[in-house]
């Protein structure tokens, strides 16, 4: 690797560069920062606040369970606490914390200056925070969700749950939106924004893992978002997705929930494992043994995790062969996890380990996670699970996996990267004490639960009979919980104390090997003045001569460009120099847009048309202002000149971030509509009659919608091919862009009208039968997809009307064509589900 500051831009150029990347000051620091370190820090801090609140709820539950037949908490309060504890830890702590860590670390590890869509990244954070606030507002209004973090129907349906469930669903929906957005960010930064020379075989394990995790989030979180919407529709407008009397099925919720829920476990564990894959080598002073095996294990684990959801449903009466498919998958994944464990042990064995605090937490992870993995293999077996299901054995198992697999690695990572985040070393003595308290406390809490579960104690009960003989075990668990909590509080105190009293750490106190340790501690706003060039898998340990082509790109970006934020965009496989990606600056609009969404949720909860209407105006105003600011900035300064005279600022296709964003949005839409279609197929095969009345059967309207969408694709694609790959096109090309954007807008608007017209023309009643409900949902999904396509097309129109950079509208039209293609697929799937699937009769 070659490092910074070898050549010298002038002092004036450096100052201009620093000014361009300067963080906002004064009140703007609160609402406007978009840089990845600010956003990542906010994610992590917010997540830890929620973690301690969730932990407090757990302690209250342990106090209630310390002795048999206690009444410290009422049954209702207990139900509310275990619901909010699970919801908080899964949705508001674990995943957001890891996304925050990724937002902070990935650009640094990969040699980039920011995330690809910095403003969208901020928008996601605000959605997450506001989602959490909505969830916790339930305590303020005295309507706390109590149906469990899994919200099984019919307990969470209109018959048995009050508005508390709506609060849960809206809060969650915002948090899920944030997670999906963060996933798109992670995919783009990992695939296209790596430092020159960082080919796939040189990519840090953390980056490999977050790439896989991001794909899992898109494939697994979208079904939960769809499921949440179906449940909300059942609850509030009388659809029939989960009502057996009208062709629905409560088991559909379990499928949708666990299609999300099981990968979610690996969304938490895999980044934890990745942290260990960084901490163990650095603190063992040895490269990670078996890097290709570990990458393969991460990929296998990620993919297989998508196919394990039924092992949460072994006792729902599914046929034995169905169970056996998922038992096979569950057994297979344990082998992949085992490969990583072997790699860490081999690295420890081959190196010279130091018993630092990060290493202690890593060893704690290894011990705990292996134990949790073994019980995981036990419950993956359908016959054993039938015995242990819904007992405290399962509670013990998943806490071993989640705390062992995620929390201990996170704490290892925090102690490892704290010097990078803050420039200060945390106290090793206090860190060691906090580790032992947390480790001993954890095992004292959760090991006895294996026994209480096997001895017959069911989970989710607010008390138990003294005759069950599990009083002592529960008392031990409660004592352990307080020791564990003391360890975690001490950990927090140690880290926070280091902010003031910790020794200065320098750039690389551990002698680590990855690029983040090149940057200052804490890193400067642009991360790297000169973009590093990577020549090996451990860039700070490998000192090989680099390619002149890579050095040229590094030199071109040396404290440059100075008037616009930009970072190199490189090729997917080899990270060869490609183009320059513009990075957004501070702005208020993402906050306003997220606030508008939260306001819409509040309007729906309050059933206030005024609030809802105002929120729509706020959302539209925020997005319009956001887009106008984007175009204004992209048309200014050095955006029209190639960086270093060589690297274009944006180019068509995968050479600019927008194309990746459009592909990501299209994939999300297709996953969403496929989820709805599969839900309908599931209901169809379980229903004696499908549909109950007539099918939609409007071939002309449907075909017209498809044709209008095809026209939108053709027009936008045609426009995207006009003009040269530079910033000044001839008037004919400019005219072509305008014609293409206007034609696409009209075609999209026509498609919207035809799609929406299907509902009244079909004469269906969404409250009559789940088929009718499904048609409404599919028409709604298609309309939403078309609206997104229209939004992007209008952006290209704005770009054409406002820009002197002629390549920008061309790129925007191409992105619109990509998104319209996704919309066409949505239309095809929707049509198949409404009109073709009902023809399949046995």
């Amino acid at each position: 690797m070659t490092t910074d500051q070898e050549t010298g831009p002038s002092a004036e150029e450096r100052a201009r560069f620093a000014q361009t990347w300067a963080r906002p000051s004064g009140w703007r620091r609160i609402l406007m920062p978009v840089q990845h370190k600010s956003v990542g820090t906010r994610y992590m801090v917010t997540a830890f606040v929620f973690f301690f609140v969730g932990g407090l709820q757990a302690l209250l539950m342990r106090v209630q369970l310390a002795q048999p037949e206690q009444d410290v908490l009422s049954p209702q309060t207990y139900n509310e606490l275990f619901t909010m504890h699970g919801t908080t830890m899964m949705f508001l702590f674990a995943v957001p914390f890891l996304e925050g860590l990724a937002a902070y670390l990935l650009p640094l590890m990969l040699g980039a200056r920011d995330m690809p869509f910095a403003r969208y990244n901020t928008f996601n954070y605000w959605c997450y925070l506001l989602g959490g606030i909505i969830l916790y507002s339930s305590f303020v209004v005295g309507m706390v969700p109590d149906a469990g973090w899994f919200a099984y129907v019919p307990l969470s349906g209109p018959e048995f749950a009050d508005k508390a469930m709506d609060i849960w669903l809206f809060g969650l929906a915002l948090a899920e939106l944030a997670a999906i957005g963060a996933a798109i960010e992670m995919i783009v930064v990992v695939l296209a924004m790596r430092a020159p020379g960082m080919s796939l075989d040189r990519m840090p394990i953390f980056a490999w893992t977050m790439l896989c995790v991001a794909a899992m989030i898109i494939l697994a979180f979208v079904p939960l978002l769809v499921g949440s919407l179906l449940l909300e529709l059942d609850r509030n407008i009388g659809t029939a997705f989960f009502d057996t009397e009208r062709g629905g099925d409560p088991l559909l919720w379990q499928h949708l929930f666990w299609i999300f829920g099981h990968p979610e476990v690996y969304v938490m564990f895999l980044p934890g494992a990745a942290i260990i894959s960084h901490v163990v080598p650095v603190h063992s002073r040895h490269r990670l043994v078996g890097y290709p095996f570990v990458v393969a294990a991460v990929v296998v684990t990620a993919i297989m995790s998508l196919g394990l959801w039924v092992h949460h449903m072994y006792t729902t009466g599914l046929p034995p062969v169905t169970l056996s498919f998922f038992t096979a998958a569950s057994m297979s994944i344990s082998v992949a996890s085992g490969v990583q464990v072997v790699a860490w042990i081999a690295t420890l064995w081959s190196g010279r380990p130091r018993l630092t605090v990060p290493m202690l937490f890593s060893l704690g992870f290894l011990f705990t996670f292996v134990a949790g993995g073994i019980t995981g293999v036990m419950v993956a077996s359908a016959p054993f699970d039938a015995q242990a299901h819904d007992t405290y054995f399962v509670v013990a198992h998943f806490h071993y996996v989640l705390i062992g697999g995620m929390l201990f690695p996170v704490l290892a990572g925090l102690f490892h990267w704290w010097p990078k985040f803050t420039g200060r070393m945390p106290s090793a003595r206090l860190g060691t004490v906090s580790f032992w308290l947390a480790f001993v406390g954890f095992h004292l809490t959760f090991f006895p639960m294996h026994l209480s579960g096997l001895w017959g104690m069911p989970r989710r009960v607010f008390t138990y009979d003294a005759g069950l003989g599990v009083g002592v075990l529960n008392l031990l668990s409660t004592i352990g919980a307080f020791i564990f909590a003391a360890g975690l509080v001490l950990t927090a105190a140690t880290l926070l104390g280091a902010l003031r009293r910790g020794e200065r750490s320098g750039a690389n106190p551990w002698g680590a090997d990855t690029l983040e340790w090149v940057a200052d501690s804490p890193p400067a706003a642009p991360n790297f003045g000169r973009i590093p060039v990577v020549t090996g898998r451990a860039p700070l340990w490998d000192r090989a001569p680099s390619d002149p082509e890579l050095e040229r790109m590094s030199a071109a970006f040396d404290h440059a460009p100075q008037n616009v934020r930009a970072t190199p965009f490189t090729t997917v496989l080899s990270a060869l120099p490609n183009t320059a990606a513009v990075q957004a600056g501070p702005t208020f609009w993402p906050f306003l847009a997220a606030g508008g969404l939260a306001m819409a949720a509040a309007g729906l909860l309050l059933e206030s048309g005024w609030v809802l209407g105002a929120s729509v105006l706020v959302i539209i105003a925020a997005f319009v202002a956001w887009e106008l600011q984007n175009e204004r900035e992209l048309g200014a300064g050095e955006s029209t000149e190639p960086v270093g005279g060589e690297y274009l600022v944006e180019a068509p296709g995968p050479l600019s971030p927008g194309w990746w964003g459009a592909v990501g949005a299209a994939v999300v839409l297709v996953v969403a509509v496929t989820t709805v279609a599969f839900s309908m197929l599931f209901l169809q095969v379980n229903a004696p009659v499908w549909p109950h009345g007539k099918a939609l059967g409007l071939p002309w309207l449907s075909a017209g919608t498809g044709l209008a969408l095809a026209l939108a694709i053709a027009a936008s694609w045609w426009g995207s091919r006009r003009g040269p790959l530079s910033h000044d096109a001839p008037p004919t090309a400019r005219g072509a862009h305008l014609v293409a954007a206007v034609t696409t807008t009209f075609a999209g608007a026509l498609a919207l009208v035809l799609a929406v017209a299907q509902w009244p023309a079909g004469g269906l009643d969404h409250t009559a039968h789940s088929y009718d409900s499904g048609v409404l949902m599919l028409v709604g999904t298609l309309a939403l997809a078309i609206l997104l396509g229209l939004g992007l097309t209008v952006c290209s129109l704005v770009a054409r009307l406002t820009h002197t950079r002629d390549i920008r509208p061309r790129i925007m039209l191409q992105n619109a064509a990509v998104l319209w293609t996704g919309v066409l697929v949505v239309w095809a799937v929707a049509w198949a589900a409404t009109d073709l699937m009902p023809l399949a009769v046995v």
Binding site: A296, V299, F325, T571, V685, V841
Partner: protein, 126 residues
């Protein structure tokens, strides 16, 4: 501007395909096995008719065998890619992709076998 990913685009595509095919094949094997078996059996049960268990079982196993062959073929391509790289014919990146593809092929092939044997030993629509 953009530099070429590799001097031989076909080898690049093959190396990447050999990495991508095994995971996709495994997802298809599990998804199709589940959908064909579970949905077909349930649909017949909902309609009050006896399911053609032999046909369903045969379809599931045939699909799995085809996907297994595809996975192993991807493994062979990946292994050859890795071997060429080791011999110095291409960059270390291709060696890595070759090894990765080979491991993925073996792992997912084992996973497909574990799925495919079930209809052979258990009653398909019990």
């Amino acid at each position: 501007m953009a530099a070429p990913e590799a001097t031989r685009p076909r080898s690049t595509h093959l190396a990447v395909a050999a990495v991508l095919v095994p995971p996709v094949a495994w997802v298809c094997a599990l998804g199709l096995s589940y959908v064909v078996q579970d949905f077909a059996c349930t649909a017949y049960a909902s309609a009050g008719r006896n399911p053609p268990t032999t046909v369903i079982g045969t379809v599931v196993v045939t699909l799995d065998v085809v996907l297994l062959v595809l996975t192993l073929a991807a493994g062979v391509v990946a292994w050859r890619t890795g071997r060429h790289a080791t011999a110095g014919d291409s960059s270390p990146l291709f060696g890595f992709l070759g090894r990765l593809g080979t491991f993925l092929s073996l792992g997912f092939a084992a996973g497909i076998v574990m799925i495919a044997v079930n209809p052979l030993v258990l009653e398909v629509c019990a």
